[in-house]
Symmetry: C2
Subunit: 390 residues, 2 copies
DNA sequence: TCAACTTTGTTTGTCTATTAAACAAATTAA
DNA sequence: TTAATTTGTTTAATAGACAAACAAAGTTGA
């Protein structure tokens, strides 16, 4: 019985969210337009707008075009009312960004990391966060939150239970950072972060139900359902990279066999490449170069990997009936060579029902998806509870 | 911008739902207890309770035990304020039930069907619904809705796009029935219906995120996330029976290869049985009998099928991190022979994280799951909009 | 050019529903 | 008996949405 009750304050908060949401989504827009679209009374909108102006979350910017009567007052979202920090801890890099409230990158730092000890890595993360905070412009609300994306399993309490590629186990990252920084901090799995980034900054279309497939060394999946990030009971959803697509198949790093990521990841690609003399020591970037110069073996390699990615994607489509599938992370760079086999596989293996209203796309946020995602996550959290800042 | 706005009426409606929900979940209970548990003010609870009593959805039943002061007035849910009709259209049977508002079956009809034409089947469904309506006891609200479960793909508008086993294609069932019956009608996929039934009537535990796996001739999946039935953008979610678990594997009835249901369904079981002389013409029930008499081949057969079911279940667990997996439909009858291989497979193939707070269970609603589910669906819908009946 | 109409946004008063506080009723404990 | 406790109702205060009236600033058209 932890059910929230409903009263006047909640109503006001919700309506304020609606009004603010209308402005962030549709600005420039007038009070009258918001009232009409939302169904709220003109008076209600006016009063909420005035509060939002007092809070400096929005501002008026002169008169707009008349539509046959008094000219409307144009309202705009104050994108610089505060700033958010997003960080993506990768396997061999750390990317940190400062964004404004609509995700424009104000400042970024990108540091390659190489064989750091756990403590060195944590210290570097802390140093980088402090650097980002220092570079944040002055504003009404300052730093409104810090989001961190991690390539591993994160529980509901911000603890990283397992991040094999970082060699982390049971790292209470939230705790470590909260001791140092007095801001709202959000720890998210990298794929979840990327999914959130795509929901917020990706191409419009159907974003309410989208699946973000992060194809890097491994495969992770971020799930947005009914416009909310789905985490599962403990926060371990989206480990679909380890679903079986081939019973008794290839051995996976997780110890199991036949996992999707044993067939459709960068790891699988590089392993397959070893079978070819002239590719045996290539990196992903080198393979992409080879493919661009039309090396037949490499093209076939990508075709094969693409097909396997398509099989996993097909499984997700059948399970979720999503509006959008987005392929992100490192292998998105190979779009030119894997898109066709992915799409072909999906078309061949799904019923046409599942293909209506469904688009497969490649991330156009490239490596920023995760960092922008967690940053946006902090922003959304801030805008939903802005009453506490009054 | 179809966003709902918030006002006094909505607040009242929501709070009334909370109060009614408290009673259905915790009755016998007093006003004071509801107020304390919900956080609502005593006066608010009292006033809402009085309305609910006027609506005959609840009633007072004398004084309860004192806890050191005035004795509380015990409130009970009026389980007979109305009745709901649930129907499960199976491949070779139609099961119809009349239930009260908490899912007690008041009356049921079960008809075997055999080679009926489409029109004959529709006519039978209509006749049966009318029969159920006629048998519904008189009550304040009468028949509050009709739910129908169908073994096929149902879109958001109650249209059955494809039900291979019924040989249906593009049947606008909702339309057909609304022409005949003037009650709220809900058409649901059979697995979704079963999932809803389990959420409402299954064992308590974690029900907010549960996956119902309907293992019959084929395999369908019903998905309850955050306590809501998840349908996907068009209503085609849960076709996980056709996810690939074996690339280039067995041919499936869907035309694709290597689908889960080509390995882990009743269809697969019977097909495998054909390899054994003495089992080649057996039905599921006969095979279960053989297994009970410890026929080694049959036991091995079930072990194999169970393992394959376990593989698909593993995939779902990794994707959803659910609190509960429930195996239902016909193969649930073989629980004794497939439970161990399923559980073993899951334990072997998932990380221990995914096993915490996760239980695999077999449906104990047996063949009633779907009919009870759609019936409950109609009830919940009724109780959420009961304001319209004032 | 001016009257009529439109559109935008504010002001005013009404109404609904929650809440706190006081109160009444019923019971236990001392 | 009396005091304390618990339950449930009544009363008054308050918040906030809404409708209607109004003011301000346009456009249109004869």
């Amino acid at each position: 019985m932890k059910q929230k009750t409903w009263n006047h304050q909640v109503v006001k908060k919700k309506n304020k969210e609606i009004v603010l949401g209308a402005i962030t989504a549709l600005a420039p827009i007038s009070r009258a337009d918001i009232a009409q679209r939302s169904g709220l009374n003109k008076a209600t909108v006016s009063s909420l707008i005035n509060e939002l102006i007092d809070e400096e979350l929005i501002y008026e910017s002169g008169p707009g075009e008349s539509s046959g009567g008094r000219r409307p007052v144009i309202l705009l979202f104050n994108e610089q009312a505060g700033y958010s920090i997003g960080m993506d801890i990768g396997v061999n890099y750390i990317l940190g960004v400062v964004t404004d409230l609509v995700g424009n990158i104000i400042y970024e730092e990108n540091e390659a990391i190489d064989h750091l000890s756990f403590q060195e890595l944590i210290d570097l993360v802390k140093k980088m966060i402090q650097g980002l905070i220092d570079r944040t412009p002055k504003s009404r609300y300052g730093v409104i939150g810090i989001g961190i994306g991690v390539p591993g399993i994160v529980d509901k309490y911000g603890k990283v239970l397992l991040a094999p590629n970082l060699k982390w186990k049971d790292v209470n990252l939230l705790d470590l950072l909260e001791q140092e920084f007095d801001y709202p901090i959000f720890i998210e799995n990298e794929a979840n972060a990327g999914a959130y980034g795509e929901k917020r900054f990706g191409e419009r279309k159907e974003r309410d139900n989208l699946i973000y497939v992060s194809v890097g060394i491994g495969i992770g999946v971020g799930i947005i359902l009914e416009n909310e990030l789905y985490r599962g009971v403990n926060g371990y959803s989206g480990e679909s990279g380890h679903m079986t697509i081939m019973v008794n198949g290839e051995l996976c790093t997780c110890g199991s066999t036949g996992c999707w990521e044993a067939y459709g990841s960068e790891h699988a690609l590089l392993k397959e490449a070893k079978h070819f003399e002239h590719l045996s020591h290539s990196t992903l970037d080198e393979l992409i170069q080879m493919a661009e110069s039309k090396d037949a073996d490499t093209l076939e390699l990508f075709r094969k990997i693409g097909t396997y990615i398509g099989i996993g994607v097909t499984n997700l489509i059948k399970t979720f009936n999503p509006g959008q599938i987005i392929i992100g992370n490192r292998l998105a760079k190979a779009k030119d060579f894997i898109e066709k086999p992915i799409v072909d596989t999906v078309q061949k293996q799904t019923l046409h029902f599942h293909q209506t209203d469904m688009k497969i796309q490649f991330s156009n946020l490239s490596l920023y998806a995760a960092a922008l995602g967690v940053s946006a996550f902090a922003v959304d959290n801030f805008l939903k509870i802005d009453e506490s800042h009054l």
